[in-house]
Structure formats: C-alpha cells, structure tokens
C-alpha cells in the first residue's frame, strides 16, 4: 500500500541553471540566513586566537619537512584511512589515502573535515572544576588527587558499586580495554559504553543465533551481492562511504531495497522503497517470510544442514497473513510479495540493519527476525550475503569485543568465576585478591535467587540515571550510584533528559573525561564536585581500532596532544596509581612516562582474547598491513602477492591462534567453502550439542578440508584426546592445555591443532532460529510502550514488569497500561545527520561541519503540519508524553509519512528552549547548539540487553 518504486527517469535534466545560490530542500531551509547573518554571528564568536591559529596551521614554511602520517577517521565504523600532513608539529594538510581498500581515498563530510581536530580551540584545554558554579582551572595533579580521594571516600561509605562509569567506543582498543580493566580492578561491573544504546540487541541477537556478535561480511563484500536489503539503516548519512560499495554493487545489477518509516537519502537510491510504521519490524519481516514459505523459496537443504528450529518460526510466521501484516505495519500484500520475490530471485543477498532495527523495547526480537529471514534464504556464510550490521562509532565494535561492558569481560568471557579466573591468569593476578576488590554480599538476581555483584551484570548506560534516582532498597547492589565518570560518552544520547538532569544534580561526584566539554558539563545546575579532564583525541595517540567489518586498523599518532590533553591510557594509569592498584593492573604492560605503551597493551589482549580470535593481530602484523594497503583487493579484501599474500586486510577477527601461525583473518564469517586456515568456518557450537532430543550440531556440512565431516562440539583437551590428536601438541602446549578448552588454553595449542586438521576450534553447529534462553524464543511482535495504535495492544502486549533486571526494577506493562495516543498523536523517531556524530559536541565544534547544519529541527509531514498549524521554518515545541519538551524548527517535508516526525539526535546545549551557553567553560562552547532530542524521549528498554527505545515513542508538535 505504501510501497513505491522509484521511477527510472532522473530529474536532473530539469534542473534550471543558476541554482548554486538557491538550493532547494533541507539545505536552504537549514542554512536559511546562515550565509550572511549566521556567518557574521559566528565569526563574531570566534576568538581572535582561533583565527590566528587557523592561519598558522598552513603550509607557510616551504623549507620545513612535511611528515605524512596515516591514520583512521574517528567518526564512524567504516574505518576510512586518511593521510595527515604534519609540519613543525602542526597538522597542516589532509590528503586522501587512495591505497586503503576500505575507502579508496573517499570520506564523508566528517572525514573530510578531520583536520580541524588538530587546531580546535573549542576543547576543554586543561583540567577544571566547578567552584560555586563557576569553572576554575586546576592542575592535573590536583585533579587526580581530589577525584581519587572522593572516589575512595565513596567506596568506603557505599562500596565499589556506588561508582558508575561510561567508557568509550571512541577510545582505541587499548584505551577501551584499559577502561574495562580499570573497572575490574576497582572492583565493579558498573561500566558501559555506547554499544549498549546502539547495537547491544544486535550483538546479543546474532551471537545467540550463530556464534559471534558482529557483522558477518564487510562493506566491500557488498560488491558481490545480488540483492541489498537495508532496514532501519540510512547509510547515506550514517555510513556514507559504505554507499560507495553499495552503489557499486547496484551498478553491477544488485537490487537495492530500503525499508524505513522515513524516505531517507539512502531510500532515494533504492529500487524498492517500503515505508512502514515505526516499531513493527517483526510483522514486516514475518510478512516477507510468509511469502517465502508460501512460495517455497526457502533453501531447504541449507536449513536441514545448518539451521535449528526453523519449524517453530514457521508456526509464528503462519499467523502473519498479508492482511494482518497490513493491519499492523501498513504495508500491502503486493508490496511485501515483491520484496520477497526480489530477495528470492537475487541470491546471494545481504541484509543491512542499523539502529532503526535495534533501539526498541523488543530490539533483540527484530534482530533475530532479520536473522531468520536470511537463514531461510540460505544467505548467511556466503560471499555477497550476510547480516551486514553497520556499527556506529569508529571503535564500537572493538569496545564491544574487548572494552567496558557491564555483562562480560574482554573477548565476551562471562563474568562468572570461570571468566574471571581466565583473565586473572592472563593478567597474572591472584583471583582471590581481585575478588576482594568487589562487594562480597549477595543481592537479588531477579530469578528467585541471590548473586554477588562480581558475577552479575552492572548497571547499563541506558539506566544509570535510575541507579541514582531509584529507591535504594529497590536496587540489587549496596547503594545508589553516587559518583559518575563520563569517560568519552555524550549524555544527550540517552533518553529521558529531564530525569537525567535531576540525576546529575543528585550525584556526589561527576567527572567528565573528554576532548570537549560535552553536554555533561552544562545540563545540570551543579555548583561543586564536578570535574572536566581533557582527554586527547584519537589523532593524538596511537593504537588499534576495529572497523565494523572486524578489520583491526592501526592508527599512528598525528600530533602531540594539544593544550593539556592526555591519552586515555595515561589517564587510566594516573587514576589507578592514585587509587592504589596500578602495580597490579599494569603488571605486564610497559609504561613509559606514565603512558601505557599501546603495543604492549595490544599484546596483552592478544594473550587473552582467544575466544574471538583477537590473538593473531600483533601490532607488528597490523602495522605491516597498514603499510601495504595497496596490495589488497577492493572486493575480496585479500592481498594478492607481496609480503602479505593471501591475508585479509587488517586481519578481521577471528584471527585465531598466536600471531606466529599466521591465520589470515576472516573476511566472511561461517563460510564453509573455505578452509579454516583461509578464513573459512561454520556456525558456532556454543549452546550444547542437543536440545530436547534434537541435535544442534551441523548435519552433512563442514568447512572445506575439515577432518571431521559433520558437526562437532567446541574443542577442549578431552576432545583432542578422543580424536587422537593430543600428541600433535608440544610438551609445553600439553602442560598448558591440560583440562582446558580452546578459549582458556593460554598456549593456543588446542586451536593450532584443531585448525591443523581443518577444524574450527569453536565447533561446527547449527544456527539457532529458536533461542530458548531469550524471553521470546521465537521473535514475536509486541507493541511499543508508547504506541499510536493502542487498539493493537490487547493482541500484542508488551512484557510483564520485572523486579530486578541489570540490578534495577524495570517496567514494561505498567508503562503501556496507559493510552497516550490521543494527547500525543505523532510517532517520534530519531536518527543521524551526515554532518554530525553521536551527541555531536565534537562535530558541532568544527566550523566546517557546523556551518552546514545550524539548527535543530523536526521533520514533519505537510498534513501533520497543517493539522498542528505549523509552517515550514517556524519554531515549534515538540512535547513528549513524559513531560520533556524541546523548542526547535519545523521542517515540513514528505520525507516522513503522515503521523511520524523525525528529529536528529546530535544536538545539545539547549535545555527546553533555554541556551546553556553561559554554562560552558569560556570559549569552549560548540558553534552550534540546540535542544536535544532525548529531552523529549521516553522510558522503554529491551528485555535482553537494556537497549533504550529511541526509535518509536510519541509526541505532539505545537507552534512555539
């Protein structure tokens, strides 16, 4: 019904000349007076020092040497390389890195504006604290001492769990790993980072389906797709350089299908666009799968060999007849038939999703529905197919893999005793010592028992405010959260802004560690006990960074930290020293001038993260890849000839075993057509060998060259003995491997021997379409908590409330109990703009970007605008059902359908209509400020991961 096909004829021929001065659409609208008035206004804001600095940053000395440094863009997970030109320590030029097989020199607006990081004056500059409500400069030494003393006092009074901190997906792997290690040695699992609120549901969903929580293929591999389906992904703005590969795929004949509530710029390039109601992905996907099953388009042989439980999915799908699907999603029978047919006839096909598919109260159901569709079509584990999950921040994949997560340890080792024991052996610290760092009491585990905080997931970034605001007796830990450290995280990316302001004001200590002040510096009305510590950017430190496709690229340091900024590693070291655990924490990490050496940190990661193959990527290997980028094929990412012949670009994990055995990295996960030593694989045996009498192991399917022709469990010392392969181990390996599994054998011997026989160390099993350990083993539809279709709630209700979930009471049903749809008739959804990233502070502080988007806005359909009495360009109030309201500009457009409004989530620095400019430290406010989307968003969390709901809530729009 709402399906439309883009007409083949291009409109460009109708372009009248002379348009440069009068661009139409979003640009003009947003620039408005920007060209003249805005320009003057902002120029007035520029301190003269900035003008001078900007000029000084140019190639004016013809004789001084120019150093060329290769680094990686810090603004998204595509991982574009760039070449920085540095003269006399100043970043004077930026050149395209044509050799990189990922971007071929290309960038988006953010990447092409990176150099501004090298001379921005909007940064924090030096440590500061609030004294009677005013920012006051202080020394690093005093700052560390004061913060440390306060933390220790809070620890003494309330236990280690009274401190909560956000690490960062923008830190390098080494920094993110140290953040997790820091929390562990402090004695708490109360740490988290951006992945929670971007792809946690993806990670949980895909890991539980087939093994690893990551993108299965790569951006480059999309060149081989015959059909590209993008659902809840607006790559043209969020992952612009990925569009290079997508459009190349399309040019070679692939069909591009975009499904989104909004006609995005990505949709503008689609062959088929499906507009559906936000919050109804499960019915949408089941609607497609209904046609697949109805026409017998599923890949039966693949399902027999490699998938468990599809029959149970089939039963659920049968309920989603085209009529019911149309009733719930708004998409017609013909529309979805065409999608299903196109996908069936054009295999292999890839399925791309982003936050449109993850940020929901049932996000983990969406993710698994996507998986089931791809499995049914036999599209996983093949080139050109896959679940191409585009991650968000530049190192969100790496920080998820080995960084500050509250519910697991680096390498996804569990927070059970076994997981801690493993890492204690890697760290060479006494487990009992570490255990004594934690609160040893037991608390409600939410399942009728009790559990120690060391073994239970900490409070998530989506909910830290409830850790402050909730009654103490309702929280399953010793006390409320009393201190918060934002170590590279924007607060305006989290929902429920007004409550966050209150939570911030209740804290005994707030520490912000960031290159820019961020909204954390200004949102609240705190007067004391608030610190800003200047952290260096990615360009002022070196280290490794994991792109969305799992390639681990090495960033060289471009310039020395500006002003008094310090790298994450150094800050971790200084704090750990003050808090008294630096000697243990850095026992085997080389520290030079208070700086943990990144290479040394990476080697420690290499020694411990066997489970996901973060072990073969030694710093030497990664650097060699960066130096030979030009040798890698753009489509296969494989080096052809040269010193790295046969290896995949930057050794995408898993790169099993020690660096010495030279695993080539894995381009396409679960691909049985290749030998495991060529990056081949199969689905992981992570959930036992059978379920209710049915085998979970693969049947008649194995990766090329495997000595075991069929399914097999994960490898451990017992299995090696049974197979008669034990003596393939060296004596030293035997000693270390005895009684261990492949993930905990620190010699890597079990892995080496398994692969020598062509076998995958993690076993060979079926993917699970039926995930019995999730609240909904088969993904089912549940209406959003704030739904515009209250009439559907009785058929598709949400979950029951839970008393303890990630230590907190969590509500579903009691929120959905009330119908808000009359007072708040519009669906409010949010998303990205190409110019900005995340909370946006960094990018809104870059004049080259800020000039392009000067106002926070809401996209509203002309019909809704007329109903609300709102005109294009007018200021409006957007009001959410929980009382938050934002004053922003209306952009009247057909981009959104009737009944849905869209806001970008990058703005901050205003609160409910008030500009917070005066609260920033002098001269460090971003050029562009605006009310934050999340001031108006609402409660709602995923029942598996605590993902927040930011894609479907309600609002009303009224003239301001």
């Amino acid at each position: 019904m709402k399906l439309m096909k883009k007409s083949g004829a291009a409109a460009s021929s109708s372009l009248a000349p002379g348009l440069l001065g009068k661009a139409i659409g979003r640009r003009t609208f947003l620039q408005g007076t920007g060209l003249a008035v805005g320009g003057a206004a902002v120029a007035g804001l520029l301190p003269t020092s900035m003008v001078k600095k900007a000029k000084a940053a140019r190639r004016i000395d013809p004789n001084a040497e120019i150093r060329r440094v290769k680094t990686v863009c810090g603004h998204c997970s595509v991982g574009c390389s760039t070449i920085a030109e540095v003269q006399n320590g100043v970043w004077i030029g930026q050149e395209p890195a044509f050799d990189s097989p990922i971007n071929l020199g290309a960038h988006c607006a953010k990447g092409a504006a990176l150099r501004n990081h090298g001379h921005s004056a909007r940064r924090v500059k030096y440590p500061m604290k609030l004294t009677n409500g005013r920012w006051q400069r202080m020394s690093w030494e005093d700052a560390i001492n004061e913060i440390g003393d306060k933390l220790l006092q809070i620890r003494k009074d309330s236990g280690p769990d009274a401190v909560w901190f956000a690490g960062s997906s923008k830190a390098n792997n080494e920094g993110a790993y140290l953040q997790r290690k820091f929390a562990a040695f402090w004695g708490s699992n109360n740490c988290d980072h951006q992945a929670r609120i971007c792809h946690s549901t993806t990670v949980a969903g895909v890991a539980n389906t087939w093994g690893y929580g990551a993108q299965t293929n790569s951006y480059n591999d999309i060149n081989k797709s015959k059909c590209i389906v993008m659902c809840g992904s607006n790559a043209a703005e969020a992952h612009p350089v990925a569009m290079q590969m997508i459009l190349r795929g399309k040019e070679q004949g692939a069909k591009l299908i975009v499904m989104d509530p909004r006609f995005t710029r990505t949709a503008a390039h689609s062959d088929i666009f499906v507009r559906f109601r936000s919050g109804t992905d499960v019915p949408l996907i089941w609607g497609i799968l209904w046609h697949v099953f109805d026409n017998e388009w599923e890949d039966r042989e693949y399902l027999r060999q490699r998938v468990f439980g599809m029959d149970r999915v089939r039963e659920e799908v049968a309920k989603w007849t085209p009529d019911e699907v149309e009733r719930v999603t708004g998409v017609s029978r013909e529309g979805l038939y065409e999608v299903a047919k196109t996908m069936a006839e054009n295999r292999p096909g890839t399925f791309v999703w982003c936050m449109g598919g993850t940020q929901h109260t049932i996000g983990s159901n969406y993710v698994r529905a996507y998986n089931c569709l791809q499995l049914a079509l036999g599209n996983i584990g093949v080139e050109g197919g896959g679940a191409n999950i585009f991650r968000g921040h530049d190192n969100v994949q790496g920080a998820t893999d080995i960084g500050p997560n509250p519910d697991n340890l680096p390498g996804y080792y569990p927070i059970s005793e076994a997981g801690w024991q493993h890492w204690c052996r890697v760290w060479d610290v006494d487990y009992e010592w570490l255990k004594a760092r934690f609160d040893d009491n037991e608390y409600d585990d939410g399942r009728g028992g009790t559990i120690k905080p060391m073994n239970t997931g900490g409070i998530t970034v989506s909910r830290w405010i409830d850790g402050v605001l909730e009654q103490k007796e309702n929280i399953a830990q010793s006390d409320n959260i009393r201190a918060v450290m934002f170590w590279g995280h924007a607060p305006n990316s989290q929902t429920r802004g007004p409550e966050m302001k209150r939570a911030m004001e209740m804290l005994d200590l707030l520490v912000v560690i960031d290159p820019y002040p961020t909204v954390s510096a200004v949102l609240h009305d705190r007067k004391e006990n608030t610190y800003l510590l200047p952290a260096a950017t990615q360009f002022e430190q070196s280290g490794s960074v994991t792109a969305s496709n799992r390639s681990i690229q090495w960033r060289d340091q471009v310039i020395d930290p500006l002003y008094e900024h310090k790298p994450d590693g150094e800050i971790a070291y200084l704090l750990a020293s003050k808090l008294g655990f630096a000697d243990e924490m850095f026992k085997h990490i080389e520290v030079r001038d208070n700086n943990p050496v990144p290479e040394s940190v990476l080697r420690e990661i290499n020694r411990g993260a066997w489970s996901i193959g973060y072990t073969g990527q030694s710093p030497e290997r990664l650097k060699e890849h960066m130096a030979n980028q030009g040798h890698f094929d753009v489509v296969s990412l494989k080096a052809e000839g040269g010193p790295l012949d046969g290896e995949t670009y930057c050794l995408p994990w898993p790169c099993y075993g020690t660096p010495e055995i030279k695993h080539p990295g894995t381009h396409v996960l679960y691909d049985t057509s290749k030998h495991v030593m060529e990056g081949g694989g199969n689905f992981r045996a992570n959930f036992g060998t059978e379920y209710e009498g049915e085998t979970l192991l693969a049947e008649d399917s194995w990766s090329k060259g495997a000595a075991i022709e069929g399914g097999y469990p994960q490898f451990d010392s017992e299995l090696l003995k049974q197979l008669g392969w034990w003596d393939d181990l060296t004596e030293d390996e035997k000693r270390q491997a005895e009684g261990r599994s492949w993930t905990t054998d620190l010699s890597g011997g079990i892995i080496r021997v398994a692969m020598k026989h062509g076998c995958h160390p993690f076993g060979n099993a079926k993917a699970r379409a039926y995930v019995w350990n999730f609240p909904d083993p088969v993904p089912i539809h549940r209406e959003p908590l704030y739904t515009p279709r209250y009439d559907l709630v009785s058929d598709y209700p949400t979950y029951e409330d839970r008393k303890v979930f990630y230590r907190l009471p969590t509500r579903w049903k009691s929120v959905q109990a009330r119908d808000y749809s009359r007072e708040f008739p519009l669906i409010h959804t949010s998303g990205r703009l190409v110019e900005y990233e995340g909370g946006g502070e960094e990018t809104r502080s870059n004049p080259w970007l800020a000039e392009l988007k000067q106002d926070m806005f809401v996209e509203i359909n002309p019909a809704d605008a007329n109903d609300a009495g709102v005109r294009d360009g007018q200021m409006v109030w957007l009001e959410g059902p929980e009382g938050g309201r934002i004053r922003i500009k209306a952009l009247v457009t057909h981009r959104v359908g009737r009944g849905t409004v869209f806001t970008p989530f990058h703005f901050g620095g205003h609160f409910q209509g008030e500009d917070l400019l005066s609260k920033y430290p002098d001269g460090s406010a971003p050029y562009v400020r605006g009310d934050s989307t999340n001031t108006a968003t609402t409660y709602g969390y995923d029942a598996v991961t605590m993902m927040q709901e930011t894609k479907t809530t309600l609002c009303r729009v009224v003239p301001a």
């Binding site: 395209p96 044509f98 071929l104 020199g105 190349r248 753009v634």
Partner: protein
C-alpha cells in the same frame, strides 16, 4: 567663418593631442585579462603536469 576656423583649429589641435598621446597610452582592450601573470597558467606549466594529473585521475577517480 571665424567659428569654422576656430572649430577646425580646435579639431586639429585635439587631433595632434591624440596623436601625441598615442605613443605612451595603452588603448583599453575589452575582454583582455588585466591582472598579474600566473606562472602556473602557461602552456609549458600545463604540459609539465599533464601526465602527473592523468596518473592521479587513474588512481583517485576510478573504482580500482
């Protein structure tokens, strides 16, 4: 008559004035560039960079 003579005289005078100026004044030529010379705009300069720019286009503009 005297008027005519006067006019002729004036005409002759102005003519001689113009001729006199002829040698040290450039007549305005519409449409001809009046600015500074640009060394990198010349035929030779363009010739010199031609191959380099072609290679650059083959590296940077193609899909590789």
């Amino acid at each position: 008559m005297p008027n005519k003579a006067m006019l002729a005289l004036a005409a002759a005078a102005s003519l001689s004035l113009l001729t006199a100026c002829g040698s040290d004044v450039t007549i305005y030529e519409a449409g001809v560039y009046k600015g500074k010379h640009d060394e990198t705009a010349t035929e030779e300069a363009a010739q010199r960079r031609q191959d380099q720019l072609r290679d650059r286009a083959m590296t940077g503009m193609t899909d590789r």
